[in-house]
């Protein structure tokens, strides 16, 4: 009995309004609490407001397919008009997403794609090649053209992050421009700052002549920078990779991370909502060659495999990082 009472109380706290009039778009992320998705949410909310759409933002607590499947089922049950998701498993979601499609729900993926049969359209923040390239370029001139670099990846099971790392290794082996760089080891930070920290420390201890640590994970780059500062290695070992301005400002100002790159998640979220609306209004079909009118982002072209790519990564350094950070903090509060 008291249990129920408590439930009523707490539900009141957290239950979101169920406005039936507006169309409801669900934004389903891989895992809650990750700044990347928080940013995408910010962009999506802007677009939703502009288009008069109700945005449902949700995601699993653990980064697992089961979690997303369960959420997709509940979104289907809620008869939302669209599901916009960043998939954490390419195959596992297919049955549920196809069920959603059968129930007339528009399915659009962004950031991480599923099997092509499971969605009508995919908004790619950037191609894997582009994502790998950003930090790689920075690493190259931090290392002064040549030297040993260590890599901190995310959880060992994250497909995309591993694709980036593989691409990086390919670059250093095959592309003349990057031949000078040698990837000595790939360590897995597991999106856990203590783990990433230890792995980074392990790298610098094992390779005294290590020049650069490239972290393809936002937690990894922060942890590595922290380590470099703790060990007074600033200037000796340089850190770069993918990170978020608001998390990296003082690592950049401290010099541990002279520069890092990231795609603009806010724009990804923003574009995704416009694209979804277009899909539902049938102004686009998702076929190659379609042009999506994405509000302030202008026109974006759909390429092959129903994929629209956002473009080059954005590089932050001590000149522009601070204001970006403030902007984000103000937006997400």
């Amino acid at each position: 009995a008291a249990g129920v009472a408590a439930l009523v109380g707490l539900s009141a706290l957290t239950s979101h309004g169920l406005a039936q009039d507006k169309p409801r778009y669900a934004m389903l992320v891989r895992v809650l609490g990750n700044t990347a998705f928080e940013l995408a949410r910010v962009g999506a909310q802007q677009a939703a407001d502009e288009l008069g759409v109700e945005l449902i933002y949700t995601g699993p607590t653990e980064n697992s397919a089961e979690g997303q499947v369960a959420l997709i089922d509940s979104l289907i049950a809620q008869r939302v008009n669209a599901i916009m998701l960043s998939a954490n498993d390419a195959t596992a979601l297919t049955p549920s997403l196809q069920k959603a499609a059968r129930r007339g729900i528009a399915v659009v993926t962004w950031d991480q794609d599923t099997e092509a049969t499971a969605r009508k359209l995919h908004i790619a923040s950037a191609t894997n090649a582009l994502i790998t390239l950003g930090p790689a370029k920075i690493a190259l001139d931090l290392a002064g053209g040549e030297g040993k670099i260590g890599v901190i990846s995310g959880p060992a099971n994250s497909t995309t992050q591993n694709e980036w790392v593989d691409e990086l290794i390919r670059l250093t082996k095959e592309e003349d421009a990057f031949k000078g760089l040698e990837v000595v080891e790939v360590a897995y930070g597991d999106e856990r700052s203590d783990k990433a920290y230890n792995e980074a420390l392990g790298l610098v201890n094992k390779y005294p002549d290590l020049k650069v640590i490239v972290a393809y994970s936002s937690i990894g780059i922060a942890a590595a920078s922290q380590m470099v500062r703790d060990q007074n290695l600033i200037g000796k070992v340089q850190v770069t990779g993918l990170g978020f301005p608001n998390e990296m400002v003082d690592h950049v100002t401290s010099g541990a991370t002279p520069a890092f790159a990231i795609w603009n998640m806010i724009d990804v979220g923003y574009t995704t909502v416009y694209a979804t609306k277009a899909l539902i209004d049938e102004t686009v079909t998702g076929a190659s060659g379609d042009m999506i009118a994405a509000g302030r982002m202008g026109e974006i072209a759909v390429g092959d495999n129903n994929t629209a790519v956002m473009g080059e990564l954005f590089v932050y350094n001590k000149d522009n990082v601070a204001e970006a950070a403030d902007l984000i903090t103000s937006l997400s509060k």
Binding site: L7, T14, S15, L32, I56, E66, R79, A90, N157
Partner: protein
């Protein structure tokens, strides 16, 4: 808690659970128009059928004063090995065999270690929790197994007569089997005896170690079955599959009125708690409450279920003594 070693008799605990269940249903249907909808409800069983399959043997295990926190890892190991078999082109029956066998063996190992070392099972299974998932991780690495034959998808995705998920049917059948086993057979009686007073049970000629090993093996087997259904439903296996299940399963068992001290609990109780938690979380997901916040409600319910009755007793006793003072 329901009377010690009771048979199918409905105890105060079960009645309390029914009350809570009704409360949750009312609450949910008031919070979301989509809750009281047959298809939604029946689909929601997907989210707990697999765990519930492990809840059943776990209840027996805890009634017999043991516990197995490695079940989630067993699921992962079984799933990964099925994935390997699938990659080698194994047919559906073989895959099922691999899943069940893996679970059985893992369970047997748990049981053997616990009985031979004479260490509390929570300690041992904390060890195997890392070991089993560790092996799974070592095998699957950062990849995923997705090449399962189409026929394999039946277990997780097929609807019996297009109305009831096969998963749920399997769970229902298992529940009946376990209810009979625990409440109507000599094995069930002995399980209660072992859980209530192991020494007396041994002095009465019950082969305690054999029973404990058997229960661990059964738990492993059911975890293997859960792995089959889960893998079939997802069609994809990664190293983080079924993470955190152990605590969810144990929560369901305990909320079902199975005394952690052993000797008490009924299948009816754990069945009620499975639906209680299942419907609660489904209802909350309909109003898009994040999973981590749902856990707050589940946690509170777990505590309240025991705290509220005890609080009554406590206050009664307190005022009683107060009266004596004056």
């Amino acid at each position: 808690m329901s009377g010690r070693g009771t048979g199918l008799r409905i105890g105060s605990w079960e009645i309390g659970l029914v009350g809570l269940l009704i409360g949750v249903v009312i609450l949910n249907s008031s919070l979301s128009p989509y809750f009281l909808d047959y298809y939604n409800l029946i689909d929601s069983t997907f989210t707990f059928s697999e765990k519930a399959l492990i809840v059943l043997p776990m209840a027996l295990l805890i009634i017999a004063r043991d516990i197995d926190v490695s079940v989630a890892s067993i699921v992962a190991l079984a799933a990964v090995l099925m994935g390997v078999a699938a990659d080698m082109g194994a047919a559906t029956p073989v895959l099922v065999g691999v899943g069940l066998l893996t679970g059985l063996v893992a369970g047997l190992v748990n049981g053997a270690i616990v009985t031979t070392l004479g260490v509390h099972s929570i300690v041992v299974t904390i060890g195997t929790l890392s070991l089993y998932r560790g092996i799974a991780v070592a095998i699957v690495g950062d990849g995923a197994y997705t090449s399962f034959p189409a026929s394999f998808a039946v277990f997780g995705r097929h609807y019996v007569g297009d109305v009831v998920p096969l998963e749920f049917v399997i769970y229902a059948v298992a529940t009946i089997l376990f209810a009979v086993l625990l409440h109507a057979t000599i094995f069930g009686r002995r399980i209660y005896a072992i859980g209530t007073n192991p020494e007396a049970a041994q002095y009465s000629g019950i082969a305690i170690s054999k029973y404990r090993i058997a229960l661990f093996a059964l738990t492993g087997l059911m975890a293997g079955l859960a792995a089959v259904l889960l893998t079939s439903r997802l069609g994809s296996v990664r190293l983080n599959i079924a993470t955190g299940w152990e605590l969810q399963v144990i929560t369901m068992v305990v909320l079902g009125g199975v005394g952690i001290a052993g000797g008490t609990g009924t299948i009816l109780g754990v069945t009620l708690s499975v639906f209680l938690i299942g419907f609660l979380t489904f209802g909350l997901s309909l109003i898009n409450v994040p999973g981590i916040v749902m856990n707050i409600y589940v946690g509170l319910m777990l505590i309240a279920a025991i705290a509220v009755p005890n609080a009554g007793k406590f206050l009664a006793a307190y005022f009683d003594s107060k009266r004596k003072e004056s």
